[in-house]
């Protein structure tokens, strides 16, 4: 089980620049759907990658679904050599994205994000409109119902305002 509270507070308290995306961002906007991992877009700067590596190291990040014993090394070099990482940690499943389809990287998404205060920390969360756009850009059949729900949330909010 993923401990969203601990993961979000860990990342925020370590001063990591990140944006919540995916299922948890959808839940933050009002989605009722179950998600099993925390998806974030991280800023690819030297300082931020360093902070990310140091903060997660005690929680043993490893490639999710990969057989045990692979020579996977959780380090800044690994992050710079890759872009997106699907990880398992002792706090749960965590997906790190350097870039996302239809959305770009951290700096591209930040203007479309909202500041959330939760669990005593502050963090960025991708705005509803952009979240719908990136999910539609990904074109995954499994997202269709999630997109429909997000659009209904938008309609509901508009109806209220």
């Amino acid at each position: 089980m993923t401990d969203y509270r601990k993961l979000i507070t860990l990342l925020a308290e370590a001063g990591i620049e990140f944006i919540l995306i995916g299922g948890v961002a959808a839940v933050a906007h009002g989605s009722t759907r179950l998600t099993k991992d925390l998806d974030i877009v991280y800023q690819r700067t030297e300082e931020n990658v360093g902070r990310l590596v140091r903060a997660l190291a005690p929680y043993h990040p490893y490639l999710r679904g990969a057989p045990p014993g692979l020579p996977f090394e959780w380090s800044e070099r690994t992050i710079w050599n890759g872009l997106n990482f699907t990880l398992t940690t002792s706090l749960g499943a965590l997906d790190l994205f350097g870039e996302i389809t239809g959305g770009g990287g951290y700096d591209d998404l930040l203007p479309h994000s909202i500041r959330l205060r939760l669990f005593g920390v502050e963090c960025w969360c991708l705005g509803l409109e952009r979240l719908i756009e990136v999910k539609r850009a990904m074109g995954r059949p499994r997202d269709l119902e999630a997109i429909a729900e997000l659009e209904l949330i938008r309609e509901e909010r508009e109806r209220r305002s």
């Binding site: 089980m1 993923t2 009002g30 009722t32 939760l118 669990f119 539609r136 659009e151 209904l152 949330i153």
Partner: protein, 82 residues
């Protein structure tokens, strides 16, 4: 005279509506008929209920749901054992 005033009022209202429409729809993706079809099967009452919660409460609910799903899976696995 009255007609002119009415026309002005109407055009003012229409301009307001057009502005509202532009603000709402400019840059927004066109509705996708497949997604529209999916919407018919989504329970809006659950969305309304969820929108009454704070963001923190929504994530807490997610964790509870995840815990519940995990428990049900465990029970299912146990029941399958000979």
């Amino acid at each position: 005279m009255g007609e002119v005033k009415m026309t002005e009022e109407r055009s003012g209202r229409e301009a307001g509506r057009a502005k509202q429409w532009r603000r709402k729809n400019l840059g927004r993706l066109k509705p996708d008929p497949v997604i529209e079809a999916y919407k018919k099967h989504i329970d809006r009452t659950l969305i309304r209920e969820n929108l009454r919660l704070t963001v923190e409460q929504r994530i807490e609910e997610l964790m509870k749901l995840q815990q519940f799903a995990e428990e049900v899976r465990r029970a299912g696995r146990e029941a399958e054992r000979p």
